[in-house]
Every structure is written in C-alpha cells, then in structure tokens.
C-alpha cells in the first residue's frame, strides 16, 4: 500500500503568516496532522530561513507587512527553489489568483478557510511534487483502477459516470482525511464558488448508492460541517 504510506508521510512545512492567532491555529492543526511546521511572521525572515533550510511545501500569506507573498515566491523561484507554494490570502479575485500562480505559486486558498481544506491542498501539492504515478489498489472486496478509471467489486465492474469516478478518486487519494465540499468542487468540476443547491451531497449520495448496490465495502462518510471521508468499512 504505497499510497497510504505516502499519505502518512510527515511533511516539513514553512508557514509565513503575520496574524498571531491564525499562525497559532495552523501550528496546532499541522502538529495534529503529523506535519512539522516552522512559522515565521515576516517575508524577510522567510527568505532568510529558506537560505539555510529546505521544506516540502510553504504556506504563504500574501498580505505581509514587509514583502508581499507574490514577491517572496518570485525571489525564491529566482534562486532556483522549486518547493511547492500555497498562497493564503484574503484577496478573492481571479486576477489576484492568476497573479499568484504567475509569480510561481502552486495553489491558492482564501480566508476564511477550513483546516481540512488546507490539509487536503497540502496533500495534493506534495503528491504532485512527488509525481507518484496512479496505482491500482484493493480495498476490501473492491479493486480501484485509476488507469482504466473504474471500480470492480467481487470482479463485477461498478457502472460509474466519469465525474463519479473522478469524485471517488479524489476521495480515495485523501483516504483517512476529511475532504471539504469546496475542495471536491474545485478538483472534480473546476468550480471555485458555492453553487448553493446541495449539488455535492446529491452526487455523493448517488455514488454511495451505486457502491452499495454493487455490494462494495467502500464507504463514503459525511462529516457534518466539515466534508466527506473515504473509508474501507462502514463506520
């Protein structure tokens, strides 16, 4: 189970955040998730620290008192540092996001955000950086094949629509973690706003019904106020 070992891999993270409350919260969340986190409050301190250290990913606030987050990444990329960078910002406009990605950032999360959202995104960044190839895997009586994009249960193929497969795959890739609705919307439908109607719930219910009907012991749990989680056995 190579995938779950990677999942359990403890990341070494850099956090640049000038708000003490948010910094404190993130420090505790990352510790609980098993990651090691170095927290600095200014852009200058971040650039200095990066001279002598390396990390698996950096979380960067954009609105810092000394140097803005975009400039920090530009400087780091100029030095040849390829560490994945996630921007954390109160600016929600698409032009801001585009500017951040153009500066060399890898992902963009707007405040306020859910702890699970941050963890899921860090996971995704890490996975992308590690370039792990899709792996076939068995969970209980089910067999998931990311190459052929299908699930078989006791040898029988479960009839899934392409989107349903993508949804299952995203959940599977974050096994053991709670995946928030917004993260699913972005990963599966490329949608970065809340469409209002309980569209994700409806899609999850349909996927769950199909898996149950096929007799699979893959279970997708709904965690109120947080999101969904992929489990092997019904809780």
């Amino acid at each position: 189970m190579a995938l779950s070992i990677k999942q359990a891999a403890k990341m070494h993270l850099l956090l640049v955040e000038d708000d003490p409350e948010l910094g404190r919260q993130m420090t505790s969340w990352m510790a609980e998730a098993g990651h090691r986190l170095h927290w600095v409050e200014t852009g200058r301190a971040a650039l200095d620290w990066m001279k002598g250290h390396s990390c698996d990913a950096a979380i960067l606030d954009v609105g810092l008192p000394d140097i803005d987050g975009f400039s920090i990444v530009e400087t780091l990329r100029g030095r040849g540092v390829t560490t994945p960078v996630l921007f954390l910002t109160a600016r929600v406009g698409v032009p801001d996001r585009v500017r951040g990605l153009a500066a060399g950032g890898d992902d963009y999360l707007t405040k306020p955000f859910a702890a699970e959202e941050l963890l899921a995104r860090l996971d995704a960044l890490y996975r992308r950086a590690a370039q792990s190839p899709p792996t076939r895997r068995r969970t209980g009586n089910s067999y998931l094949d990311p190459v052929r994009r299908r699930v078989t249960c006791e040898g029988e193929a479960v009839d899934l629509q392409p989107r349903e497969w993508t949804l299952l795959e995203v959940l599977m890739n974050h096994e053991g973690r709670i995946v928030p609705k917004q993260f699913l919307l972005e990963q599966v439908w490329d949608i970065r706003f809340d469409p209002g109607t309980n569209v994700v719930d409806a899609m999850i219910c349909r996927l769950r019904r199909k898996l149950e009907t096929a007799g699979s012991n893959i279970h997708i749990e709904t965690i109120r106020g947080k999101g969904y989680a992929f489990k092997k056995e019904p809780a």
Partner: protein, 445 residues
C-alpha cells in the same frame, strides 16, 4: 449617392440648355435664309442670273447652302447645289399661295440619308420667276455640339468645386465623429482606460474629446478607489472571520459536548455563508458600478454549460426534475470564465428552487452578433409581469434587507452584475407553454 445626384443635376441642366439653344439656332437659321433670299433677289433684279452666278460662289464659303431659280412652272433655270444638299427632295413647284412680291415662305426638309436639316425658302422675283435658297443646320449642330461639351466641362468643374466643402466636412467632421462613436462604444467597459481619440479633427471636437476624457479619468480614479476600498473591506473582514472560523473548528474537534459540537457546526456554516455574502455584495456593487475586475480569457460557452448540467443533474433528479441541454453551436468568447459559470449556476440554482416536482429545466444558447444569449427555461410558475424588473434587484437596494435574509435573494442580482460587468444584459420572459425563461446576453469581449 452624391455622385449620382451631381450627375443627374448636370444632365438635367444640359437637356434644358440644349433644347433652348437648339430653338434659338433654328430661328437664327431661318433669319439667315430669309436675309439671303432678299439679298439675292436684289442682285437678280439689278444684274439678272449672271449677277447671282457671280455672287453666290463668292458669298457662300461652305457646302451648306444651295440656290435655285425656277420658272413659275417649276422649270429649273439655274441652280447651284452642292452634293450634300442633293439628298433633299426640293418641292417641285413654288408654293401655290397667293404670292405677292417679296413674300417668302420657309420650310424645313429632312432626308433619311443625313441627320442635318435643310431650311429652304422661296421668293417671287419681279419677272415672275422664283428664287430658292436653302441652308443646312450643319453649323448650328456644330455649335450645339461644342456647347454640350463646354457645358459638361463646366458642370463637372462646378460639381468638383461644390464637393470640396462636402469632402472637407466628411473628412474633418464625419470621420472624427465616427471614430469618436467607436471609441465611445468601448468606454462603458469596466476598468476602461480607453479614451476618445480625435487626431487632426477640428478644434471644437478636440475640445469636446478632452472634456469627456477628463470626466472619464475622474470616473476611473473613483472606480479604482472603490476597488481598493472593496479589497480593503474584504481583507479587514476576512482575516477576523478566518480567526473565528479556526477557533470554532477547534471547538468542534475538541469538545465532547454534543450541544457545543452542534453549535460549532452551525456557526461554521454561518461563517462560510457570511464570507460568501460579503463576497457577493462586493461583486454586485462592483459589477453595477463598473468596478468589477474581470479576468477575461477565451472561454468555450458550451463547455461551461455542459459542466454545470453535469454538476446539477443528481440534485435535480433528487427533486424529481429533468435537466436538459438543447445543444447549440460551439461558441468560444472572451469572458471571465469563473464569473460566467457562477452566473449560469445561479440561474440553475434558481430554477431548481422554483420548479415543482416532475418539472423540466432546459438550457440552451444561441449566437447573437458576435456574442451569445444563454437561456435557462423552466416549467415553474413563471414571473409576474410587475416583478420582471424587480427580481434582479430585490435585496440589493437596502442593506437592511440583506441582513435580514442572509445568503438568499442575491443570486439574480449577482447574475445581473456579472452580465453588466461584461457589457451584457439579463432578462426574463414567461414562456407560452408555461414557466419562465431567464436569459443572459453577453457580447464578445
């Protein structure tokens, strides 16, 4: 158009002048014939045929006149007729009128062999013989031809001179006004840095342009200020919301108390809704006031719609609704993909909320000009005529209404703001078959 007008007026002038000139020339020819008749009659009276014989060749330089003397019975006593005048059939006898001395009768002869007309006249001489004199209108026609050419030249020259102010007007006034209009068309776009450009136009237009441009500069600076205020407001609100949200999450995770967990979960939902509400209000205000920054890119409209229908289908089926697409042409337009997706999504959300079970929601789109109109049609109750305008701004007028109904009612205002920011429009009509048809019209960016 102008050329046609000038040509017609020259031609009309010409026709009039020609007919007048030709009448005058005829009279002139008649007078010449009359005059010569009397003159030759006088020569005949003093010197007889011989005198006429001597004088005629000397007096008539061209081939255009002829002379003949006949007896009262019509027997030709003498004649001098050049070849060109042989083609006319002269009268065989003198006119049978009651002739008195010096009375002359003129008549015009034509011939199928020539276009020239011959004017002839006869006069009774003292010895009872008749003197005939004829003259063709060759000279007159030559004059007329020359006059026609001169008239054309004069007409064209006059028209050219008259056109100069027209050309000046169209070059100095119409063309700048047209470019004025073209640049003015781009002005309404948000973040529009386009300005009226009238290089080489008349001073009055340049003044107008600079006055308008100064106004636009001021609007742009106000717009920028509004944008930065919006950004700042968002930042000031979002950071504390993020702190509160984090603490609530910790409470939800750490608390063993079910009531506390429930309270925390509900508060988390409220916070997310509040953050989204602020975002929507800022987007609506920005869109309505031209201060919404768009990130335009080549966007396949059909793909957005298909993607959204995919997303909404399970939710629609749960409500026992059929969600369909009427495929149109593949259209790629320069739009803010995310905002347009949100606008269409809001219309879908609206349709799902108002269409009763068993109903049908249909999406279709059609090209209009270089843009597109997207329709979301439902089989719901439709919209009251008096509400058709109001629904787009309900909850958007007073902030109090917004606060009382958090998270609801902003959907359509948002749709309108996004469309306006793209230079487009929105509307709703009731379908003949029942239900409403909401549309968004978007021009090519």
């Amino acid at each position: 158009m102008l050329a046609l007008f000038v040509g017609t007026s020259i031609a009309l002038t010409l026709i009039f002048v020609r007919s007048t000139v030709s009448r005058d020339l005829r009279r002139f020819d008649a007078a010449v014939v009359m005059n010569d008749l009397v003159e030759y009659a006088a020569i005949y009276a003093s010197s007889g045929i011989k005198g006429v014989l001597d004088v005629f060749p000397a007096g008539q330089s061209s081939d255009s006149s002829a002379i003949r003397i006949t007896s009262p019975d019509g027997i030709i006593l003498f004649e001098e007729i050049p070849p060109g005048i042989h083609v006319y059939a002269w009268p065989a006898k003198p006119p049978s009128n009651d002739w008195s001395a010096r009375k002359t009768v003129l008549q015009e002869l034509t011939s199928p062999e020539t276009e020239l007309r011959l004017t002839i006249g006869a006069i009774r001489l003292r010895d009872g013989n008749y003197l005939w004199f004829g003259r063709t209108d060759e000279e007159a026609q030559r004059y007329q031809h020359n006059i026609t050419i001169y008239l054309w030249l004069a007409g064209i020259l006059a028209a050219a001179v008259a056109l100069l102010p027209v050309i000046w007007y169209s070059h100095e006034v119409l063309i700048p006004i047209r470019s004025f209009t073209n640049s003015a068309r781009r002005l309404h776009l948000p973040e529009g840095t386009a300005r009226l450009m009238v290089p080489r136009a008349i001073p009055e237009l340049q003044t107008l342009a600079s006055v308008v441009n100064a106004g636009l500069d001021q609007i742009l600076s106000l717009t920028r200020e509004l944008q930065s205020t919006n950004d700042q407001l968002a930042h000031e609100l979002r950071t504390p919301l993020a702190r509160v949200r984090g603490n609530l999450e910790n409470l939800l995770d750490k608390s063993d108390n079910a009531a506390a967990q429930d309270a925390a979960a509900r508060s988390l939902e409220e916070i997310d809704r509040a953050a989204q509400l602020v975002q929507h209000i800022l987007t609506i205000r920005g869109g309505d006031h031209g201060a919404l920054r768009l990130y335009r890119q080549q966007t396949p409209v059909h793909q957005i719609i298909t993607n959204l229908v995919d997303l909404f289908t399970p939710a629609a089926e749960d409500r026992n609704l059929t969600l369909g697409i009427q495929q149109g042409l593949d259209l790629v337009l320069n739009l803010d993909r995310e905002l347009i997706t949100q606008a269409i999504s809001n219309l879908l959300d609206n349709a799902l909320a108002y269409t009763p079970k068993g109903g049908k929601i249909n999406l279709r789109w059609q090209a209009e000009g270089t843009g597109v109109v997207i329709f979301v049609e439902d089989t719901g109750p439709g919209v009251h005529r008096e509400e058709m305008q109001m629904i787009w701004e309900r909850y958007n007028r007073g902030s109090s209404a917004v606060v009382r109904h958090p998270g609801i009612g902003l959907g359509l205002s948002l749709v309108r703001a996004i469309s306006t920011a793209h230079g487009g429009s929105v509307g709703v009509t009731n379908r003949v078959t029942g239900g409403a048809s909401f549309w968004i019209k978007l021009p090519q960016g």
